[in-house]
């Protein structure tokens, strides 16, 4: 089993209505204004890649939530809930735990490392932790490959949303979407991204709560929704939904533990102005995340109940769940807000990926070869444009290929970064060989398993995900190689890194 079908993009029903178009235009104008403002404040590479370590707690928390949730949570996610029931929740259930876990495991140490060493990327942290330019380089390569694939998937989704709202066609939609994101990403960098994330996160949260209220009204409360479904298909609301326990638990494992290796999220720890403000970060992020995920759960389950009760015909495609619910059961203004929220979610995720991809190309890969780019700000801006154009070109390809690249990218982050980062920053016994071995293992296994699945050359047993298998193998290789080379552990630790690890 792979995650491939989860992200395969499909067309949305037409949404070309004056209110929806108007709200979308207002939304894009606000994003552009934030971009102009951020560009004026972006003076150097630190501003461009880590917002000059000057972001406050609330802004950082909401921006973290916003970049965690992509457009999938608004369209594909409810569609998945509609299809497989409770089983689809195992992708988001870890949210109750992962933010606190991330703060204990990574936040303090990354923030302090960023401050004392001037780090701007996640591969930077791997490089200084293990005193390994190769480790920094290979993790940067993984990030670049994953970034292009994941960005392409999201740009395609944005193209589909723009096509549905403005009726412009898929390819123009992709390029219009890319141009809008580039208008603030290439000039204002992550600073623009963080403040648009703040705006977008607020839109998402408000829209999600309002839609959930309509879900309860339309469905007759949670009890009414459950009874409608159970009368027709009780297994849909079983503890694992329409998938088995192993598949559901695999989702939880990959999305829970794998969250520690999502660079677009953990990279934000560098940006916090005052590290002591980390104290309240898990609470704010966790609560805002749960609120924003109400739509993911509510719309999918409500649509299943409405179909089960015979109030609407079965959906032609699961991805129709959100558009159908919004257009039939909510006021048009709320529908417009949610469709803007979908575009918002995609744009905030893409901006984060463009930033980390550009940083890897501009900063990490040259450092791995012992060189530094002279003007990282200028080259960073140019690289952002190059990645966005590449991603848009890939997005124009077949939907299946784009989805494959997105999955490949997503799995790579978890399997290549979690052991070397999450364990490595907390265990002095971790060695360079362990880190490099786990990154290479994650890279090879993810590529191998996902490619075999894509080419239909091999089918994994029921309940086994390629991402989960790659992640656990990466962990085991990390521990085994670190143990075998334990005599070298002390030699890879610089005194200031040791001070941070002991703090």
């Amino acid at each position: 089993m792979t995650l491939f079908p989860l992200l395969e993009a499909s067309a949305l029903p037409p949404l070309t209505q004056p209110v929806i178009v108007g709200v979308a235009l207002v939304y894009f104008a606000i994003v552009a204004a934030i971009g102009v403002w951020a560009t004026r404040r972006t003076k150097n590479a630190s501003d461009f890649f880590v917002a000059g370590e000057g972001i406050g707690l609330w802004t950082l928390a909401i921006a973290s939530m916003a970049s965690t949730i992509s457009g999938f949570a608004f369209i594909g996610g409810p569609g998945l809930v509609y299809s497989i029931g409770i089983g689809a929740l195992f992708l988001v259930l870890p949210a109750a735990i992962t933010n606190t876990m991330g703060c204990w495991v990574l936040a303090k140490r990354l923030r302090l490392l960023g401050e004392i060493r001037g780090l701007i990327t996640i591969p930077d942290a791997i490089g200084v932790r293990y005193r390994s330019r190769f480790g920094q380089g290979i993790s940067a390569v993984s990030i670049v490959v994953a970034t292009i694939g994941y960005t392409a998937t999201n740009v395609l989704a944005l193209g589909l949303v723009i096509t549905a709202v403005f009726g412009v066609g898929r390819v123009p939609g992709i390029w219009i979407g890319s141009a809008i994101i580039l208008s603030y990403s290439a000039s204002g960098g992550i600073l623009a991204g963080v403040y648009t994330d703040l705006f977008e996160g607020a839109v998402k949260a408000v829209a999600s709560v309002l839609v959930f209220a309509y879900v309860l009204m339309v469905g007759g409360g949670m009890g009414g929704i459950s009874q409608s479904i159970m009368a027709v298909d009780p297994s849909y609301l079983g503890p694992w939904g329409k998938i088995g326990p192993m598949a559901a638990l695999s989702f939880f494992f990959v999305f829970g533990i794998g969250s520690l290796g999502q660079p677009h999220v953990v990279h934000k720890f560098y940006m916090l102005r005052d590290p002591r403000r980390l104290k309240w970060l898990p609470l704010i992020v966790s609560c805002s995340l749960i609120v924003s995920l109400l739509l993911y759960f509510g719309v999918g389950i409500a649509m299943r109940a409405l179909v089960a009760g015979g109030r609407i015909p079965a959906l032609a495609s699961p991805d129709d769940a959100t558009p159908t619910f919004l257009l039939h059961f909510t006021p048009i203004a709320l529908a417009a807000l949610v469709f803007s929220g979908v575009a918002a979610a995609i744009m905030s995720t893409v901006n984060s990926f463009l930033s980390i991809g550009a940083a890897a190309l501009t900063h990490d890969i040259p450092v791995a070869f012992g060189r530094r780019v002279k003007d990282e700000l200028l080259v960073g801006r140019l690289t952002t444009v190059v990645i966005a154009v590449l991603a848009a070109l890939v997005a124009q390809g077949s939907g299946a290929l784009v989805a494959f690249l997105g999955i490949f990218g997503w799995g790579l982050f978890a399997s290549t970064l979690v052991p070397s980062l999450a364990i490595g920053l907390n265990w002095k016994g971790a060695t360079r060989a362990g880190a490099v071995g786990s990154i290479v293992t994650g890279l090879v296994c993810t590529l191998l398993f996902e490619t075999l699945a894509y080419m239909k050359a091999y089918k994994l047993p029921a309940g086994v995900t390629a991402s989960g298998l790659s992640l656990v193998m990466s962990f085991l290789v990390f521990f085994a190689l670190s143990w075998l080379t334990r005599a070298t552990a002390e030699s890879t630790l610089d005194p200031d890194i040791r001070a941070v690890m002991e703090a």
Partner: protein, 150 residues
């Protein structure tokens, strides 16, 4: 001590997850029971082990966090475990807060209960265990001193 325990828990948990996947390859018939239990233990152990690893400091006791961490381990083990062992009652299954009992345990128990405990435990112990003003000053001073001698 807690640091070593956390590390050992993560290692054992990863072996358990690996075993669950190995069983899925070698003996697919067992994955419904033994494999799923290995996976449940692997998830609960990895989550709690990673938290212990991140929160523990050489010079400080992790005692204030033992209860929240034990709670998290119990919620994950019991929540997922009850999903496995409780019998399906079909359309007649009792509702809890609007969801069938087994689904409610998963959604409310695992998806919401930890939010009522973990972020508050993190905040409550932040000054003592995570980062005080003194800790911050010490790290900054150490880094400045090393820079000065370099």
């Amino acid at each position: 001590m807690t640091h070593r325990f956390g590390l050992a828990l993560v290692v054992i948990s990863m072996i358990a997850v690996g075993l669950a996947y190995l069983l899925a390859f070698a003996a697919p018939g067992l994955t419904g029971s033994l494999g799923a239990w290995c996976m449940i233990f692997g998830i609960a152990g990895a989550v709690v082990g990673l938290m212990m690893l991140g929160a523990s400091r050489d010079d400080r006791s992790l005692r204030p966090l033992l209860l929240p961490l034990a709670f998290t381990f119990a919620v994950l083990m019991l929540g997922f475990g009850m999903g496995l062992v409780l019998p399906a009652a079909g359309a007649a299954e009792r509702l809890l807060f609007g969801l069938p009992l087994r689904a409610a345990i998963i959604v409310y128990g695992i998806g919401l209960l930890p939010i009522l405990v973990l972020p508050f435990a993190y905040a409550r112990t932040f000054d003592a265990l995570t980062l005080s003003d003194e800790d911050l000053a010490r790290v900054r001073a150490a880094a400045a001193q090393l820079k000065g001698t370099a």
